[in-house]
């Protein structure tokens, strides 16, 4: 086991943790998005609410969720430790700073991560916490089955401008985080070659723009729709 | 004092083998008890320290640099010779030996040179095993190129960075021994004096350059691999820190300095651009394979160029003087270094120089670009190519051969050498002279050895291209590990040398007094300004072309400058802190003495040989050697007023002394 400890405490080991958890979170982003897009189906929330119930009660999903929480936790804690460690390793800063070498994102992954974290807290407090641990949720009944009406909760939430703004900030941060993070994760794994790296970079840009944009579509859509209803 | 070269008996080709097989050895358990100090981590020093460490000696290694890897050897560009005969072109150990002796104008010791040629092949093997990325052919085998006026292709190279790669190889071997604890490395420690106990070299005094602290280091033997003294000219291709102090301090302790006046002036360097110039940059000799050297035929044209009113391209062919091709039709632009350098000086002295200062000639690639362009076009099946097309194709060929050199030139001068002729001028490059050593590389001080450029041993009056790297590594990897045994085998009963003896304390005090003396002068002129003035005197009176009158005058001027230095130099700061100005001052002080010895030696040598050109000894304007009177090594004992000459007569049993001719 000595080797494992040595590895996990080495700089490259720590980075591997970032990369793997990062990629795991990326895959989660896709799944989560597919589910959430059901909010846009104009069926009054039936499909979405059934999906939400499934996601909160199915034992396999529950198990996977624990993995997700651990992933976020690991990624966050390790990320913060790395940023702090690197600050120390750098020591003092230059009087003149330039933006010519290295993208802004790559130098501000910690800040972007914290923004995402802040957003996650708001997001989870708004839905996940309420859904799981309180009974503040409105209820609906489909075919005799009573369930929490997350659909309506989301609509209520997203009709508030300030919530939507927080979401947009969070998603812009996510986009920027991924603009660097996506391809960086592959380099960390050592996956770099002139034959396929350009493709990874392209995919990274596509992913970092498209996924947060689709996420952003949901609150914007709701906000506009609710506004139109008035 | 009788100089004993200690060359072993026997046939030339058998000497080293037999000697190696029969010399006294030090047993492994005894090696552990013997301490060796190695000063210098260039090719010679790093190779020696690593190998002695591998053998089991306790090595302490010193460099004034912040890391062993920064030694001046890192800058060597062109390549390293070895008699591998991989090209099957008739090379052999004998041929390399012969070329080196002849190239050195018959002023080196046969046996040493033969041994050098023998060791050359092992160096390549060793370097390859260390991971030195030499150039290779598509079949995966080592590539060679030809260099400097020899008829075989025996130069191994790593692009234009051969010295860097070889030094990093030696540095890696040294690092391995440091990690093992076999070598204790002292970076940023400058040797400021040699310590002798009972006539034997037993240690050194160093200054920690970060703190200024003086330390006494004792050992059974001291090996100096501290490089050459080309910086006595201030402007040279040597690194700024290269200096003579370690050798010179040893001279002050009784070691002899051999052939100080033998200096190599390299013909293809970037000319001086102004008074502020701090060092000169070499452009590899290989450029002369394709570049044509010329100056304008008339002084009027040259002056117009100097004023910037005309450019090289503006002069039609008939107004140009391709003087090397004219004077030496047989070798043309490929005459040896010393001949090419002097010819450039002659042209510039006639007022035909092509740079602002008047000191520069053209090295023109237009003809090569055109020639290559045409043959490329032909090969590509382009008939009647336009002149633009020819240029384009030709430039591509030139780029593939010399791209990195052209880039370097452009970085420094801001001119594009593909479009306009390069400007070059000779510059001091290498010093063949150095501490006198015998066949074992031991100086006349028992226990004090000298390797690499710091000794005088193998190049005679002129060094062939790609032979310094060979010599440094041969000395370090393959000679000293054996020959140091001839001294140490008799020391196995000597207990650890104490650094607490009166000799050590005296030496430390000597160093301290000297530094205090320098700091106490408190004059008005910077060290740098004295160094520049010394360099100017050296260049003007002891440079490419020397005569008795000038040398006498030069000597007087140096003495006067030395006096002025000790009255008016100003050194900021103190001795017990990081103080680069104090470091420089101590080095320049030594150069001010060496410079005088240089002039004295040049005056004594009334012949022209190799890099030493005496205007009094010429025939039809070409150098004339005088074998009857000067077939000796001049080994000097320093004295402030009258340096004493000791001669080691050179005997040649295997080669016939011939006049070099390149006409």
């Amino acid at each position: 086991m000595r080797w494992l400890i040595d590895f996990l405490t080495s700089s490259i080991g720590k980075k591997l943790v970032m990369s793997l958890t990062g990629l795991f979170l990326i895959s989660f982003l896709v799944v989560h998005l597919l589910g959430n897009l059901q909010l846009l189906i104009p069926d009054g929330g039936v499909k979405f609410n059934i999906y939400a119930k499934f996601m909160t009660t199915n034992p396999i999903v529950k198990f996977l969720a624990i993995g997700l929480y651990t992933g976020i936790l690991l990624h966050t804690v390790q990320g913060i430790l790395i940023v702090l460690g690197n600050k120390k390793a750098k020591g003092s800063k230059y009087a003149v700073s330039t933006y010519e070498n290295g993208s802004w994102m790559s130098k501000n992954m910690g800040l972007l991560g914290l923004l995402i974290l802040f957003f996650l807290c708001v997001h989870m407090g708004d839905f996940w916490y309420k859904m799981k641990f309180t009974d503040q949720m409105p209820m609906v009944t489909y075919d005799g089955v009573v369930m929490k009406d997350l659909y309506t909760a989301v609509y209520t939430s997203f009709s508030q401008v300030w919530i939507v703004i927080i979401y947009l900030i969070g998603l812009v941060a996510l986009s920027l985080h991924l603009l660097h993070g996506f391809q960086s994760a592959f380099t960390t794994l050592g996956l770099r070659h002139k034959k396929y790296t350009p493709l990874i970079k392209l995919m990274g840009i596509g992913f970092s723009v498209a996924i947060p944009a689709l996420y952003a579509l949901i609150p914007l859509w709701v906000l506009i729709k609710e506004a139109a209803n008035y | 004092m009788k100089l004993e070269a200690n060359v072993p008996e026997g046939e030339l080709a058998e000497k080293w083998k037999k000697y190696r097989g029969s010399m006294n050895l030090v047993a492994p358990n005894n090696k552990r008890r013997l301490d060796v100090i190695v000063v210098g981590t260039g090719l010679a020093g790093a190779a020696a320290a690593a190998t002695l460490g591998e053998l089991g000696y306790n090595v302490k290694c010193f460099t004034f640099h912040d890391s062993p890897r920064r030694a001046h050897s890192i800058a060597a560009q062109g390549g390293i010779n070895a008699a591998k005969n991989y090209q099957n072109d008739g090379d052999s150990i004998y041929r390399l030996f012969y070329d080196t002796i002849k190239g050195g104008d018959y002023r080196s010791r046969e046996a040493n040179v033969y041994r050098l040629a023998e060791c050359s092949t092992e160096i390549i093997d060793q370097a390859v095993a260390q991971g030195v990325p030499f150039a290779r052919e598509y079949g995966g085998l080592l590539a060679n190129r030809s260099f400097g006026g020899v008829q075989v292709s025996r130069t191994f190279y790593a692009r234009g960075q051969t010295g860097q790669q070889l030094l990093l190889g030696a540095y890696s071997a040294l690092s391995r021994q440091i990690a093992k604890g076999q070598v204790k490395m002292y970076n940023r420690h400058e040797m400021l004096d040699l310590v002798k106990v009972d006539g034997k070299a037993r240690g050194i005094i160093t200054r920690n350059l970060l703190t200024g602290k003086l330390d006494r280091h004792a050992a059974h033997s001291v090996v100096l691999a501290t490089g050459g003294y080309g910086n006595v000219f201030y402007l040279s291709t040597n690194a700024m820190g290269s200096n003579v102090s370690a050798a010179w301090r040893s001279v002050k302790e009784g070691a002899l300095f051999a052939n100080p006046c033998y200096t190599q002036i390299h013909p293809t360097c970037i000319p001086v651009s102004g008074e502020y110039q701090s060092k000169l940059t070499l452009m590899s000799e290989s450029l002369r394979n394709d570049g044509r050297v010329w100056v304008p035929k008339t002084v009027e044209d040259a002056q117009a160029i100097q004023r910037g009113e005309k450019r090289a391209e503006d002069l039609p062919e008939e107004d140009r003087d391709y003087y090397l091709e004219r004077r030496y039709p047989a070798f043309g632009n490929l005459v040896p270094r010393d001949v090419a350098s002097r010819a450039a000086k002659v042209a510039s002295d006639e007022g035909k120089g092509v740079v602002k200062t008047g000191l520069g000639v053209y090295l023109d690639f237009a003809a090569a670009i055109e020639r290559y362009g045409k043959s490329e076009a032909f090969a590509a099946g382009i008939h009647n190519p336009s002149s633009e097309k020819i240029r384009e194709l030709g430039e591509a060929v030139v780029k593939s051969k010399y791209g990195n050199l052209f880039q370097m030139y452009e970085k420094i001068t801001g001119e594009n050498p593909y479009k306009t002729a390069m400007k070059i001028y000779p510059a001091v490059h290498y010093t063949m002279g150095g501490l006198w050593v015998d066949y074992n590389l031991q100086t006349n001080v028992p226990g004090l050895f000298a390797l690499g450029e710091a000794n005088f041993s193998d190049h005679g009056a002129n060094r062939l291209g790609a032979s310094a790297l060979m010599q440094g590594l041969a000395d370090g990897y393959f000679v000293i590990p054996y020959t140091i045994g001839t001294f140490l085998a008799n020391e196995i009963r000597t207990p650890k040398i104490s650094n607490d003896s009166p000799e050590f304390h005296d030496a430390e005090q000597r160093v301290k007094n000297r530094l205090d003396q320098l700091l106490a002068i408190g004059g008005n002129q910077s060290v740098e300004s004295f160094h520049r003035r010394l360099g100017k005197i050296m260049w003007d009176y002891c440079g490419m072309s020397r005569n008795a009158e000038g040398l006498k005058k030069g000597r007087e001027l140096i003495r006067a400058l030395r006096k002025e230095f000790y009255e008016d130099v100003y050194i900021p700061g103190s001795a017990d802190e990081f103080n680069p100005e104090l470091e420089k001052a101590a080095r320049v002080a030594d150069f001010l003495e060496l410079g005088e010895l240089f002039a004295v030696d040049a005056l004594d040598r009334g012949e022209s040989c190799g890099g030493h050109f005496r205007e009094e000894s010429t025939e039809n304007g070409e150098a004339k050697r005088n074998d009857a009177e000067y077939t000796y090594v001049s080994a000097w004992e320093w004295d402030d007023n009258n340096p004493v000459l000791h001669k080691e007569e050179l005997t040649f049993e295997n080669v016939e002394l011939k006049t070099r001719s390149y006409k």
Partner: protein, 248 residues
């Protein structure tokens, strides 16, 4: 040309540093270091303390020169060391800010001079092939593919200047370390102890207090020898391969 220099002055490692302004009159053909020589000459003439900076070869190969010019190690010209930088890259009236390389593993010695011995420590951890003098087989006994030798060479051109660390916002030495590992590891001679080398050099690199690589890429931009960050990716790969496939 008239220039204003804003130079970092720091008496020694423990002293507090600050910027000092100087005016110099330079020539466009001077190298950057010759321009500093002019400044120092003037300071000495005024009996003031000259600016300490490291330099030796002044032709871009020894790796001694080290300073940050307007926020960029070795200045903003690509593939150029400070000593190769010439004043024609600046205009009269410019203000140039000059600072030392900054990283915890490179403590300041004085002014612009820093201590880079942590690099030696990394090499000592395994930046070599274990072969004693005299043990080598014939140079042509191991054929090496030309392209491979050339790739190894590209990595081997590192001059150990530390600009990569200075440029890195994390103070990481991955470019330097990976360059050496790739130089040796790409060739058959270096393969034998490749795994050990990778592990040990990374261990010491971490121990010396360098930061962790975030794949920012600043190192590559400011490396005077234009060493590619592909080397870093390859090191990651080797390291993971060694940990999950190696012997111990």
């Amino acid at each position: 040309m008239k220039l204003t220099l804003k130079v970092w002055r720091q008496k020694n490692n423990t002293a507090q540093g600050h910027f000092e302004n100087y005016q110099v009159e330079a020539d466009e053909h001077m190298s950057f270091l010759e321009m500093l020589d002019v400044l120092n000459q003037e300071l000495i003439e005024k009996k003031e303390d000259p600016v300490a900076f490291e330099h030796d070869c002044r032709e871009g190969i020894c790796g001694a020169c080290s300073m940050v010019i307007n926020g960029r190690p070795h200045g903003s010209q690509a593939g150029t060391t400070t000593c190769q930088l010439h004043m024609r890259a600046f205009k009269t009236g410019d203000t140039i800010t000059i600072e030392p390389f900054r990283a915890n593993a490179f403590p300041v010695i004085k002014d612009l001079a820093v201590d880079r011995s942590s690099f030696d420590a990394i090499i000592q951890a395994g930046g070599y092939i274990s072969v004693n003098t005299g043990q080598a087989p014939d140079g042509n006994a191991i054929p090496i593919e030309k392209d491979l030798a050339s790739e190894a060479f590209d990595a081997a051109t590192c001059i150990g200047c530390g600009a990569c660390v200075a440029a890195c916002p994390n103070g990481s030495a991955m470019l330097f370390t990976s360059a050496k590992i790739n130089h040796l590891g790409k060739m058959p001679q270096g393969q034998v102890e490749h795994g050990r080398r990778v592990k040990n050099m990374v261990r010491v690199m971490d121990k010396e207090g360098f930061g962790k690589c975030s794949n920012v890429g600043a190192c590559e931009v400011d490396c005077p020898k234009e060493i590619s960050t592909d080397n870093i990716a390859a090191l990651n790969r080797y390291y993971l391969g060694q940990v999950f496939g190696g012997q111990d």
